[in-house]
């Protein structure tokens, strides 16, 4: 059986499902037999899920307004340069 240290070394590959099938079987066997590593995997997955699920907040309207104004000026300057 893999040690916890060996398991943690492969944790990212396990979470990202990038391991080959033989290693995956070994890693799954480890978490089935090691409650601590099971908790680490479970809470890592939840950590990733909770961050992924967080939609970006809307940009403050004044910030967006200044961005579009700067862009508009840039575009106008380019059009003038081309004319």
């Amino acid at each position: 059986m893999l040690t916890c240290k060996e398991f943690l070394t492969e944790l990212n590959s396990f979470l990202d499902e990038e391991t080959d099938s033989l290693l995956r079987v070994q890693l799954e066997k480890h978490i089935n037999e090691c409650p601590n590593c099971w908790v680490v995997v479970d809470t890592c997955k939840k950590t990733m899920k909770v961050f992924k699920g967080m939609e970006p907040q809307a940009i403050p309207s004044e910030v967006e307004g200044r961005l579009m104004e700067a862009l508009r000026r840039k575009m106008a300057a380019r059009r003038c340069g081309e004319a």
């Binding site: 601590n36 680490v40 479970d42 939840k46 907040q57 961005l67 508009r72 575009m75």
Partner: protein, 230 residues
């Protein structure tokens, strides 16, 4: 003042433009014009297509800039500089990567420059040697109490997540942000940050473990410390 006669508003996206380019994808239940079609039109001088790209990605780029710089004013500068540079240098974008990844790379560079300026006495680098250590962070071993997304309101949850991510070192925070929040691939993250793939993987593991540890302190089920077997 340049005296230029500026248009009052940015040109708006008109769906009819793309009738001859039916490449569509779907996201969030909305039909989206394929990014590469918009980029191609923008490269041909179609400013409305470029504006559509800006509108599509500006929230993500602002979040990224804010998380790296930890400062609203700097984040706004980064947001503007990134899109203005992308517009100016669109000719040099050859489509080897996604447009979004390219803009992310520009924004990361701008954000890191801001950090370096602000902390002129300290070096801020993503490729610095980081002690990734043999000892991984697994002190908090406790199951979580239910689903945080259901248990907490959006505002409260956002605050908890913001605090957790802000406490990471920039080198870890930025990798986590690109890989697990913006959902770039490992290779795209490596390209955006000019890091090797193993360096991205190493930093990502540390970031995930540190965030897991911090969030466990908030989300753990009461009384579950007894589960710490290690």
């Amino acid at each position: 003042m340049t005296g230029l006669a500026l248009p009052t508003a940015l040109p708006e996206f008109r769906p009819g433009w793309y009738d001859k380019k039916p490449r569509m994808d779907t996201a969030n239940g909305q039909e989206l014009i394929d990014e590469s079609a918009l980029v191609e039109l923008a490269r041909q001088g179609d400013d409305a297509a470029f504006s559509t790209l800006v509108n599509r990605y500006n929230r993500k780029i602002f979040r990224l800039a804010k998380n790296i710089t930890q400062n609203d004013e700097d984040a706004e500068d980064v947001l503007q500089d990134a899109f203005l540079k992308a517009y100016t240098h669109l000719d040099s974008f050859h489509g080897d990567s996604k447009f979004y990844t390219w803009v992310v790379r520009i924004a990361v560079n701008e954000a890191l420059m801001k950090l370096r300026k602000r902390r002129s006495d300290k070096t801020v680098s993503l490729d610095e040697e980081i002690d990734t250590g043999e000892e991984q962070v697994t002190r908090e071993i406790a199951v979580w109490d239910g689903d945080p997304e259901q248990k907490y309101g959006q505002t409260e949850l956002r605050q908890i997540l913001d605090e957790a991510i802000q406490n990471l070192k920039p080198a870890f925070r930025t990798v986590f942000q690109l890989r697990d929040v913006e959902e770039l691939s490992t290779e795209e993250t490596a390209e955006a940050l000019d890091l090797s793939v193993p360096a991205v993987k190493s930093r990502l593991l540390r970031a995930r473990l540190q965030l897991r540890e911090r969030l466990t302190r908030v989300f753990k089920r009461k009384g579950d410390d007894a589960l710490a077997y290690m």
